[in-house]
Symmetry: C2
Amino acid sequence: MGGKSTLKDLAKILNLSVSTVSKAINNSPEISDVTKDKVRSIALLNNYSPNKLAQSLKSQRTKTIGVIIPDVLMTFFAMAIHGIEQTANSYGYKVIICLSNESLEKEAESINTLVNGSVDGLIMSLSKETQSTNDYAHFEEAIRYNTPIVLFDRTSDLLICDKIKIDDTLAAKEATEHLLKIGCRNIIFLTTIYGTSVGEKRRLGYLQAIENTGVEDTIINIKDYAQFECILIEALKQGKIDGIVAADELSAISTIKYSIKHSYKIPEDISVIGFTNGVLGENFVPSLTVVDQHATMQGSLAAETLIKRLEKKIPVEPVHKVLKTSIIERESTLPLFYAK
Amino acid sequence: MGGKSTLKDLAKILNLSVSTVSKAINNSPEISDVTKDKVRSIALLNNYSPNKLAQSLKSQRTKTIGVIIPDVLMTFFAMAIHGIEQTANSYGYKVIICLSNESLEKEAESINTLVNGSVDGLIMSLSKETQSTNDYAHFEEAIRYNTPIVLFDRTSDLLICDKIKIDDTLAAKEATEHLLKIGCRNIIFLTTIYGTSVGEKRRLGYLQAIENTGVEDTIINIKDYAQFECILIEALKQGKIDGIVAADELSAISTIKYSIKHSYKIPEDISVIGFTNGVLGENFVPSLTVVDQHATMQGSLAAETLIKRLEKKIPVEPVHKVLKTSIIERESTLPLFYAK
DNA sequence: CTGAAAGCGCTTACAG
DNA sequence: CTGAAAGCGCTTACAG
């Protein structure tokens, strides 16, 4: 009644000491059942609930995990958040979210504000800038505070910590091989996420796949969506492209969109495969064949790993989990039995 | 060096009292410049940064705001988060995110865990279940704790607090009128968010728009996406539908997708208008004409309002801000000059 | 079985 | 200008 009640308030009402009340509420075996009952009913009556801040200060644990990701608007990260949140909650943990907006500085700020008492641990996917400059000085703070970090998706070999990811090289290799299998012979790799670890590895996988197949390698790197159409169409004019591996969801969709606009038929003329199993690709016409990176699962595993680490339920060596990706065949690629 | 340093640590090193060190660090005028300098250099050397938990316990302010939304995967909410996060950060606030998953129970849990010390205030958009059962008992806890709440988008008249929203009725009316203007005469309203305040209001706006125009009202309410195609096509067969107002982004896209699949031409046969200006509608072919609800702006305003409320920079009467929506004309509706 | 005391890390009114 | 003391709300080792 009228604001939050504290242990002190209850103690006064009950004519007991704060310690006794505390123990009663925490069901300590030290306390008699009679007292426990009395305390509990008064606690209920006064809607008592312990102050989390005070508990955290005492226990040095917040039961909160910090999540720092580049962007909520990318389907992949929205799905990952979903997984993190669900799993964290099931273990009784809350989630604080910070967005780096692909900026190293904001990533650093986020680490610094979270690390000092606000969270027990961190789940991160690195910003573009961090990955391209390879500058990890801003992680020092987290290390000094002994705050465990779990990296997912966009990870780095220079950071020693738990990691959840997919084998991007292998995934892109398989995606490219899928195009080869259905008969594509002029396959290009298109990326708008150049500079990220995953973009780089996917490029590598593409190159590995076409090695010794006689397919020539063409990498298209688009920095600005404003020039997407122009660059893509120019490339399509060069050779008779029949397959495109796009490094993320939106660029795959854009590829299809502009190709169709310029009278290329998808998948008859060009088969397109993308990354991330999101609503965008699922609902597009033609629907997008994608490499499923199991975003929700990555998030969920990251949360589980972090929590087990915090609760010391896993061995000290860093966890390095690599999820198997799978290809979801949809309409943007020729079906296998069509194979020329 | 080796873990976090506290005021006590610094005091010991400096041979000063904890109080003096605290004041020096907070640049209190009570302290001499010489001492301040000494304290600061030692603080820097030991990477001292104050423990947020302890500060919060003392000041009874966490500088954190809790956000409870139904779903991150809906573009609208992802955009809103983006706005909230950005604005909150610019004011030096952190953001804790909880997802209700459209469930009243989870919404209640989130309120309860956040309200007790973890956050200074709450930004919420109500879950479907909360809105359809009209049960607000779980808000009691927030009220008792005197935690200010700002509601956005999915609000309720039964809750007295700050609110940021759009005029959904008017927006749907304008959307429908847009279809009328381009010549549509058989317009249906399609919704998958029946039971939410916004869904209901949009339905009303549609009805208002067609009143006295001779257009017959047809409401299609789809509960399960598995039946979307079937229900939609059945409806299209009934009459010669030439316009569809869809209550959200995904249902608009699905409408277009299945219509095209069944050989209807968009927009030549049917013009489709949806809600939310997201990547999905923007990149679809044909691109989607939408009512822009200014999701990011709603989030940003919600954050600003909450923070001003917390810092007592606005009058006590609840803020009720209604954003003007705008229609973004794209390819899924006939252009105006085509009007029959 | 109950309570007084110390302490988590900080701030601030009060003395000196 | 500096410091001792109290307190934010809790927990827990120690006495009784």
